[in-house]
Point group: C2
Chain length 213, copies 2
Amino acid sequence: MPIINTRWNNGNSDGDRLVVDIFPLSSYYFSSKAAAASKDETLADRALRLKSNYDAYGMRTCVEAVILVELFKHPHLLLLQSKNCIYKLPGGRLRPGESDINGLKRKLLSKLCADDDNYRTHWEVSECIGMWWKSDFETLPYPYLPSSGRTPKECTKLYLVKLPSNRDFIVPKNFKLLAVPMCQLHENRKTFGSIIAGIPQLLSRFSINMVRT
Amino acid sequence: MPIINTRWNNGNSDGDRLVVDIFPLSSYYFSSKAAAASKDETLADRALRLKSNYDAYGMRTCVEAVILVELFKHPHLLLLQSKNCIYKLPGGRLRPGESDINGLKRKLLSKLCADDDNYRTHWEVSECIGMWWKSDFETLPYPYLPSSGRTPKECTKLYLVKLPSNRDFIVPKNFKLLAVPMCQLHENRKTFGSIIAGIPQLLSRFSINMVRT
């Protein structure tokens, strides 16, 4: 697999930049499965549910996957789209006591694999690249702890997940899986929200190798 | 030095988060020295100078320091302010062939230390936390390479620089050294520009320990 396009390297002391191999979108196979059950509820019901969960289990922790593919020689991020205008990273809430890595693997199986996968698909969860906190259930997330010193109500952790050179993606029918270019995400909070719009920055310290398969 | 305030840790598998100790602003001593020579020039002259340097030496590389202190139990970033409304990270352009680390140490000495320091002050330059590229001399920076595949004209690398528990800062009279809270920087591109406004996100994966001295 020859490397056809490497991030510019000035030959100085940045040889220790972490390398992420990404593969063409065409290396992957996409199909769909039965729609995922959605929590049909009003915003008020959701706030009640979050509050009751907080009282029972403490801070809600979400783990989300940053997964890259190559298209037109530019890195693209995989996003789930629902209801035409809501974009989400694949991932979700940890169960009480569940580790970040195990919880993220469970969520990736339910959102991106066949229902009878039974953990046959291996997900390579790499490092945490960013974290966001909410100081209350219905507020915006911030990339730092509330300065009041209060315990945050929710924490979202972004993990880099590395794909192999081929993979099947089986996505619930009520979602579309999209590959969105970095240049469309960057600072586009209006469309994608702060967390997703900031991902190009979080990835900038990595050296992205676009591999031809 | 007891730790008085630690980033919230949910006891899950995030024990490997990198810890950054920061010390109160009051641990540091600030004074000034003679004004630094400034390159008085028009924008057109500057563009000519950058172009001629590019032709001679290739891509311009800048290295900049992300230095944190604690104030009111919230992390603050050290910024140099000039002409009342221009904010810069301490740092500057590498000389041809100079390594990132050596170049950044040279710049920190010239901008934050006494003129007769003679490299007595030790700067602990830690990892690169983000990079930005300009595809041309007068364009905005982006946290990814130009998708055209063209060689970028300028690269800015942000390095985390860790302070010891005390330090003198001697700043040229034409600059003010400010400590600006994360919450004021976050997404505040209008005041600080994209690079500085994104620093809270780049730091979010670190566990910040506010140490009482």
